[in-house]
């Protein structure tokens, strides 16, 4: 009897040990520069405050390419990190390799389904179970403008592409570069998808860049999108190839150029230079209806050991928790993924972004950004970008571009 009691209490001890395993997490990410590094430190601190041990694994370089190479090596050697900065369809791609964990218990306990917009929540699920936690929402379809330049030339923020063209022609005549742009493939794609959203509309955009519907890809509307891109090419200064996006932002800041089409990370540049939204620079969604999002998230990988599993659950809980969502996004310039965070401390652009996200989520026009790897897998989005950037940088006709677009998409499947 005594022996039985002993073994029962020993078993209880083991169970208790398991339940109180110290949470541990190894986190692979590529947030290594200024504001981004500061944002990760916020998460690191919160994790430590809740009794966890954080092992940082930052891999800089190549917009995440280097980190993905490191991840591939770790997964192939059977030693995946606890959580990895991944986004969009890449989460599903890794799930199909059978290496992601199921964190549904945390998600259900925390009621993620109620606080996240449905289309963003869909990215975080792998065949019905939750496998990733969203960190923020970047809006991609922003148009930024220099307030003084617009005022001096009597121009309002454009609400249609015709308005934009008229404003750009006027600016060009006044000797101002209408559109600040950097000629790198992803920036060409960013402008392209903003134009496509305006001209195709939310439904057309979804058909073209989420469903890859051939009829939409070759439709007359798509020809019109490329026509507008040809116009945009004329509004860019001749010195644009290879320019980094933040240099283009600087051109808007110092009045050399009037507009820039770029995601809300550009706001960080304005703010860092001491410019005030609404006074020195203006932000508006690009002409047309809809909201293109770029959501950063952490995917949870299958790990062994109770301490690692506990760390994973704690991490997931903290990431989606309201306090982290607020502090992190104040640092990063994006908006919280959950819709119930008070926005008092955010600036007017972020408030506009949050209001538009809610409205477009209700109206069914909250859409994933193709240029930033939210809508399609790498091979498909890369194939589209190849055509877009080649059209933008040559004298290819819009009809030819549309033909090549359909061929490239078919070839990438």
């Amino acid at each position: 009897m005594k022996r039985l009691a002993l073994s029962v209490s020993a078993a209880a001890l083991v169970v208790a040990n398991a339940a109180y395993a110290e949470p541990k997490a190894e986190v692979l990410h590529w947030w290594t520069s200024g504001g981004e590094a500061k944002s990760v430190a916020v998460l690191q601190k919160e994790f430590a405050d809740n009794g966890g041990t954080w092992t940082d694994m930052p891999v800089a370089g190549g917009g995440g390419d280097a980190a993905m190479t490191a991840l591939r090596a770790r997964v192939l050697s059977g030693n995946a990190p606890t959580a990895v900065q991944l986004k969009g369809p890449a989460i599903q791609e890794w799930y199909e390799e059978g290496v992601l964990a199921d964190i549904s218990s945390v998600a259900e306990a925390e009621g993620w389904a109620d606080v996240l917009p449905a289309s963003i929540a869909a990215h975080m699920k792998c065949e019905g179970s939750w496998c990733a936690a969203p960190v923020n929402v970047h809006r991609v379809d922003w148009i930024w403008a220099n307030a003084d330049v617009l005022e001096a030339n009597g121009i309002e923020m454009p609400t249609t592409w015709e308005d934009f063209n008229a404003a750009a022609d006027k600016l060009q005549a006044a000797g101002i570069i209408p559109l600040a742009h950097g000629g790198q493939a992803w920036q060409d794609a960013t402008v392209f998808e903003a134009v496509a959203l305006g001209i195709l509309g939310p439904d057309g955009f979804r058909k073209a860049f989420v469903d890859l519907d051939e009829a939409t890809l070759t439709s007359p509307e798509m020809v019109a999108v490329f026509d507008q891109m040809r116009k945009m090419r004329g509004y860019v200064d001749p010195n644009f190839p290879g320019r980094d996006w933040n240099l283009a932002t600087a051109m808007v800041m110092n009045g050399e150029a009037a507009f820039q089409i770029m995601g809300d990370w550009a706001k960080g540049e304005f703010l860092a230079a001491g410019k005030a939204p609404g006074e020195d620079f203006l932000c508006a969604s690009v002409p047309g209806e809809g909201f293109l999002y770029n959501v950063d998230s952490f995917a949870m990988f299958d790990v062994d050991g109770d301490d690692n599993k506990a760390g994973q659950e704690l991490l997931a809980k903290l990431i989606v928790g309201p306090s982290f969502q607020k502090v992190f996004n104040l640092n990063k310039g994006s908006i919280p993924a959950r819709t119930d965070v008070a926005l008092d401390e955010f600036d007017s652009c972020a408030e506009l972004s949050a209001a538009d996200m809610q409205a477009s989520s209700d109206g069914g026009s909250l859409l994933p950004s193709y240029a930033h790897g939210m809508a399609l897998r790498g091979a498909q989005s890369g194939a589209i970008t190849d055509v877009v950037t080649q059209h933008f940088n040559s004298d290819m006709s819009s009809e030819e571009a549309v033909k090549q677009l359909a061929a490239a998409v078919a070839n990438s499947l």
Partner: protein
């Protein structure tokens, strides 16, 4: 025992590097060939699916551009580097006083990494910062030199930077070749009153054939594996106008999660190297057997 060691020492010493080459060169070559026949995306898969990746590769306009660029870049780079290198070597060979200093100056670009060369030329060729801006500031308002940002001309900026980097090295090779030509023959020719240009074209240059071959092989493999220069100078742009097979392969493998496609492009690159190197090896081996 010591006899055994004496007999086998060379083999024992060579064994580790032999095994390393066997695994890391030929082993991975076979692995890549295998993967190029699969539908691998993010991670390698091993179910053979036939030549689907090669079909995709040859249907991609970007690969066409990359291959055309390789042949254009390779041909111009090799020919101009050799002509320029030979010319510099002949000029240096005229017993001039400061030869040592000049030789060092011309050879110096070789000491730089391609990334440095590419970045420096990017600034020099940038129309808003470099040559064009400078000449315009002198008052020639209509001066244009915008190759770097012109999709049709950008590939020539890569040729320019690569030649700047390598022609000094080719010069050194040729200079060594010129010095190794038997001076007796040259003297005899001079005694016979043959003009200097004839001495070079009929005697010295033909006797340097092996040097030409080595220079060609070195430059050809530099051209095929060119990657860092493109990344630093143009990033493959404008658009993908300056893509080379190596940058295409990198984009597929590391940015787009399309490993099968990357493997098939690697196999084609290897095929190109083989078509250049195999005739060379063949001629070398035949020469030895004779």
């Amino acid at each position: 025992m010591s006899k055994w060691i004496e007999d086998h020492l060379p083999k024992v010493v060579l064994a580790p590097s032999f095994i390393a080459v066997l695994v890391f060169v030929y082993g991975f070559l076979i692995w890549t060939a295998w993967v190029s026949l699969t539908r691998s995306r993010l991670l390698p898969k091993y179910d053979i699916e036939g030549v689907i990746q090669y079909k995709r590769l040859f249907a991609a306009p970007r690969w066409d551009v990359a291959m055309n660029n390789l042949f254009l870049f390779g041909a111009l780079f090799i020919v101009i580097s050799m002509v320029l290198g030979l010319l510099l070597a002949i000029l240096l060979d005229q017993n001039i006083r400061t030869e040592g200093a000049i030789r060092t100056i011309y050879l110096y670009p070789m000491a730089l990494s391609m990334i440095v060369t590419g970045t420096a030329w990017k600034w020099i060729l940038n129309p808003g910062l470099g040559i064009e801006a400078m000449v315009r500031s002198w008052g020639f308002e209509n001066f244009r030199f915008d190759w770097l940002v012109n999709p049709d001309m950008a590939i020539y900026t890569i040729v320019l930077a690569a030649i700047w980097q390598s022609s000094g090295f080719v010069m050194a090779l040729f200079l060594a070749g010129l010095r190794s030509v038997d001076t007796e023959i040259i003297r005899a020719a001079q005694v016979d009153g043959i003009p200097t240009w004839r001495v070079y074209s009929a005697i010295i240059i033909p006797s340097m054939a092996p040097i030409f071959l080595s220079a060609f092989i070195v430059l050809a493999h530099l051209a095929i594996k060119s990657f860092d220069l493109v990344i630093a100078l143009t990033g493959g742009g404008p658009g993908f106008a300056t893509d080379l097979p190596a940058t295409y392969m990198y984009a597929m493998a590391f940015s787009r999660g399309d490993i099968g496609q990357a493997a098939s492009s690697a196999m084609i690159m290897m095929g190109v190297v083989f078509t250049i190197v195999v005739p060379y090896l063949y001629s070398e081996l035949r020469a030895k057997n004779d």
